[in-house]
């Protein structure tokens, strides 16, 4: 079974630029998550999808972050414009249902300079 795929693995951008991350979940997984992990901290949930509907986005900075899940499968997370404090690893995860364990991709390390 293929795992969660994320791209790119690394990205360096200047502040005020925009960036997009892509995630392909495990086939058949209905729930998809985007987490932000700042160095030395635990993952913070940005947004959680159930199929293509949003379950929770209470911690998503909506003035600059946006996410969508097309047709309930792939997802993209966008930041526009980026700030220095957005430097972090962005993790995508998926789970079969909203109750089961989540499986994570390798993450995208974003550096904003």
């Amino acid at each position: 079974e293929a795992g969660v795929a994320q791209s790119p693995r690394y990205k360096i951008i200047e502040k005020r630029q925009s960036v997009a991350f892509w995630c392909n979940p495990i086939s058949g997984h209905a729930t998809l998550y985007w987490y932000q992990q700042i160095l030395g901290q635990g993952p913070k949930l940005l947004i959680q999808f159930q199929n293509n509907g949003v379950v929770d986005d209470s911690q998503l900075p909506k003035d600059r972050f946006s996410a969508e899940r097309l047709k309930g499968v792939d997802s993209t997370l966008k930041i526009q414009p980026a700030k220095l404090e957005d430097s972090a690893v962005y993790l995508c995860a998926s789970s079969r249902t909203e109750n089961t364990e989540a499986f994570f991709g390798q993450g995208t390390r974003l550096t904003v300079v």
Partner: protein, 112 residues
């Protein structure tokens, strides 16, 4: 409000000794609890889960965890630690609204 807490930032043990990583939770109802491990520059790997049933849960790589409802704890254990167990460990809880929340993590160092 924090849903899960890991009271120790770091745990250091000698190889061959027992390893315990602590986790407490604070959610209403019956919690779904998970442990994950993260190696440098890698995503999180699922170790084990507690949903219901036996309070002692066995997982990958010889790890196990004990659910204690009265103490609201879900400590991760391994009877004999290996140097290769050195990593960052996260406890997570799925709340009643199905959000999956993580603790701050515990760095485990196993010395040879």
């Amino acid at each position: 409000a924090q849903s899960v807490a890991q009271p120790e930032d770091q745990v250091n043990v000698a190889e061959g000794n027992p390893l315990t990583v602590k986790c407490t939770y604070s959610v209403s109802g019956n919690p779904y609890l998970f442990w994950y491990v993260q190696y440098p520059n890698r995503g999180l790997q699922f170790l084990l889960k507690y949903i219901t049933g036996d309070n002692l849960v066995k997982g990958s790589y010889g790890f196990e965890a004990e659910f204690n409802k009265s103490q609201t704890s879900f400590h991760l254990k391994k009877p004999s630690a290996l140097v290769s167990d050195s990593a960052l460990y996260f406890c997570a809880v799925r709340r009643g609204d199905y959000k999956l929340s993580f603790g701050a993590g515990t760095t485990v160092t196993v010395r040879a």
